[in-house]
């Protein structure tokens, strides 16, 4: 009797299964579509900007001469050519908050780097506005100088020996240090803990090159502009951003949900890039920097932009190799 009941139950189950249809799904979506910034690359091949064994002192520039008065540049000099052209062409950034960025309300470029470019223009023309800004990505900086597209590059550019081979640098006008930016709730405190996870940095930057050298390197997401890293961070597509503390401070200023962690991985001395052949321009720019520090203009600019980001309030000592 029990066997009969079991057989009936089995039959009921079988027929029940046989009649059950599958629901039809008309719109099958497996995952959301996350947009990516234009030009993003994952683990790009190594290029210039790589930190090389130190066989020079990248922070030592050429000793300045006396600063000529505005509009009276020595004949035949690079500065005189710029004076005749009527404007200084400066390669800058428009996406790095506090250093070089477009103020969305006035539409003008502002920041600590932009102030340096205006000082050079003021020294040549007596007018800080005689400057044409050309926006460059990190990766374009060296080529723009080598092609002569720009007179100077003032764009959070670290002076390295490898770069000294291709271009000249002014004296160091600011010293930053590479650190790590993560979400406020994150327990990560050092780049060492990021092995295999996605971390953002700009293409062609020293920050990107340094992260490659870690024993367990993170998966590197390379972008054109630093602000693209902030976008990826806010969209949850990377766990961290690693670059100079000054740039990271600009991101924290835009999003209080982020924090800077970890030790100062490496000092990043910023110099103004100048084409290799324009030695007179290097000495001139160094004279402008000397004047800027002694007149207090450097300090005023620091107070305006970088005080909110912390860091060193004193200008670096200008060093020369003669």
């Amino acid at each position: 009797m029990r066997r009969v009941a079991a057989a009936v139950a089995a039959l009921v189950m079988v027929s029940g299964c046989a009649t059950a249809g599958t629901p039809v799904n008309l719109a099958t979506v497996t995952a959301g579509d996350r947009p990516l910034p234009v030009g993003v690359e994952v683990n790009p091949p190594a290029t210039t900007g790589a930190a090389q064994p130190s066989d020079c002192d990248p922070t030592a520039s050429l000793r300045p001469g006396a600063l000529p008065p505005p509009r009276q540049m020595p004949s035949g000099s690079t500065m005189q050519k710029i004076l005749q052209r009527g404007r200084l062409i400066a390669g800058v950034d428009q996406n790095t908050y506090l250093f070089g960025f477009r103020d969305p309300t006035t539409n003008a470029l502002e920041g600590f780097d932009i102030d340096r470019a205006r000082e050079i223009a003021a020294a040549i023309f007596g007018d800080p506005n005689k400057v044409q800004f050309r926006v460059l990505t990190s990766a374009q900086r060296i080529d723009a100088l080598k092609n002569g597209d720009v007179d100077v590059v003032v764009r959070t550019m670290t002076a390295t020996c490898a770069r000294w081979d291709e271009i000249n640098f002014s004296a160091i006008y600011y010293v930053a240090a590479q650190r790590l930016l993560v979400d406020k709730s994150s327990e990560i405190s050092d780049i060492d803990q990021l092995g295999g996870q996605r971390v953002c940095a700009a293409k062609g930057s020293t920050s990107l090159a340094r992260m490659r050298e870690f024993p367990s390197p993170p998966e590197l997401v390379a972008v054109d502009n630093w602000s693209d890293c902030l976008v990826l961070m806010q969209q949850g597509q990377v766990v961290g951003v690693s670059t100079d503390d000054t740039i990271l401070a600009g991101m924290v200023a835009q999003d209080p949900n982020l924090k800077m962690v970890g030790p100062r991985i490496h000092e990043e001395p910023y110099g103004i890039g100048i084409p290799k052949e324009n030695v007179d321009m290097v000495r001139f720019v160094n004279a402008v920097l000397t004047k800027s520090i002694s007149s207090g203009a450097w300090q005023a600019s620091w107070n305006r932009w970088l005080a909110q980001a912390g860091g060193r309030a004193t200008p670096p000592t200008l060093r020369y190799r003669d």
Partner: protein, 438 residues
């Protein structure tokens, strides 16, 4: 007549009885009558269905197919304009001007509405379904990015620019190509339906000719058998069928002429103008994005240099459309468009010159300001001309296609009535002869 019971079965018996019937004259008459009536019925039915189908195709062209091609075009236009407007708003500095914001919102609303219409129609076309899928999935992502960009911009954060770049990248790499593809698919479907509408129904024509031949042969045979020259019933049947043939042929010739006209002056002209408009929108976005990139926008300027010659230059789309316009009224907005495109290219040259010599703010003013020689003014005028020309082209399409449909007015009921006349005529004509054998 006595028939023996056939051993093979009823069916072959029936067949044999018909065969035997056909050997006698009255028998043959009966077979001829049945055959003629059947042939008339088949021909009449076939012709009525074919012609009704043709009329339905014409109605569908006006009420369905052409509006959908226009909707697909509208999706591209709205989205491309939204992208260019967002870039202009970004360039303007401060909180964006109200009119730019309103324009962006209108563009997005219009794109959404047009996308709804386009998606209702994709049906079994998997290519079209794929494009609609991309559009429906990415459009909300795009608008989300633009709003995030806007919020950041209002707070004075440069992250806004990064979000806008990401949004524009998504628009240009995925959304706009899908919209362009969708328009191409819809235009191809329109073209092939127009081909259907003007194709000549050969099978119906051959059936009708066969029916006339059968009627004539029957009459010749009767004349020989009975020495009577005219059989009124059959003659009336022949006349009815011949009338249907002539009416149908003339109506279809007129119809295909109008459909061809609708193609030439309507849809092909509209397609040229749509291409011009798509290129002009791409150029406008390139122009503003070059300024947003501020020296880092060589790729945008490269695309401008590739596309601008299709708007102003040797053998450009606009002058081709102007030359192809059938009437001066239709040509007028296109001629204006040619002039405005040239003014725009000139303004663009000035923008590049200003930007290249360091006068960035002046270049921005030239691009988005409202001075009479600015690029914004020339582009807006060009777009107005193109809208007017597109509307005129669409009007021409509807007018000519409706005329084509009118040419078929009454043809279907007419053919049915004439087929009935022919059937009754054949029956009566042969019955009169059959009676003489009783």
């Amino acid at each position: 007549m006595v028939t023996e019971a056939p051993p093979e079965g009823a069916r072959s018996a029936g067949l044999r009885s018909v065969t035997r019937t056909a050997t006698t004259t009255p028998g043959r008459l009966s077979v001829a009558a049945v055959g003629l009536v059947l042939l008339t019925a088949v021909t009449g039915l076939f012709a009525a269905l074919t012609l009704q189908d043709k009329k339905d195709t014409l109605d569908d062209l006006v009420s369905h197919r052409e509006p959908l091609a226009a909707a697909a075009q509208l999706i591209f236009r709205s989205l491309s304009d939204a992208d260019a407007t967002a870039a202009s708003a970004f360039l303007s500095g401060g909180a964006e001007p109200d009119e730019l914001r309103a324009r962006y919102e209108f563009d997005i609303a219009q794109a959404g509405a047009a996308l709804g219409k386009a998606s209702s129609d994709v049906g079994a076309d998997s290519m079209a379904a794929q494009q609609v899928d991309i559009l429906s999935r990415q459009l909300p992502v795009y608008t989300g990015l633009v709003e995030t960009a806007r919020t950041n911009k209002r707070q004075g954060f440069p992250a806004g620019a990064a979000y806008l770049r990401e949004a524009s990248g998504l628009m240009r790499s995925q959304i706009l190509p899908a919209a362009e593809k969708l328009y191409e698919i819809n235009y191809q479907r329109l073209t092939s339906e127009q081909e259907d509408a003007r194709s000549f129904p050969w099978i119906t024509a051959l059936l009708t000719l066969a029916l006339i031949a059968a009627l004539v042969v029957t009459q010749l045979w009767l004349t020989r058998k009975t020495n009577r020259l005219i059989n009124i019933g059959l003659a009336a049947a022949t006349a009815a069928v011949a009338l249907a043939l002539i009416w149908g042929t003339v109506a279809l010739l007129v119809e295909s002429t109008y459909v061809r006209g609708a193609e030439r002056d309507g849809s092909q002209q509209v397609d040229l103008l749509v291409q011009a408009r798509i290129n002009s929108l791409k150029c406008r976005a390139d122009e503003t994005l070059t300024l947003v990139a501020r020296g880092d926008g060589a790729a945008y300027e490269k695309e401008w240099a590739e596309l601008a010659p299709t708007l102003a230059g040797e053998g450009n789309l606009l002058s081709r459309a102007a030359a192809a316009a059938p009437t001066p009224e239709l040509a007028a907005p296109i001629t204006e468009a040619v002039a405005n495109a040239e003014a725009w290219v000139a303004a663009h040259g000035k923008i590049r010159e200003l930007d290249g010599t360091g006068q960035y703010q002046e270049a921005v003013a030239m691009a988005i300001g409202d001075a009479p020689d600015s690029a914004a003014v020339a582009f807006a005028a060009l777009d107005r001309n193109l809208i007017a020309a597109l509307d005129a082209g669409r009007g021409e399409f509807v007018a000519q296609t409706s005329r084509a449909a009118n040419a078929l007015t009454g043809l279907v009921p007419g053919v049915v009535v004439l087929a009935m006349v022919a059937g009754v005529g054949a029956t009566l004509g042969i019955r009169a002869r059959l009676r003489e054998y009783r």
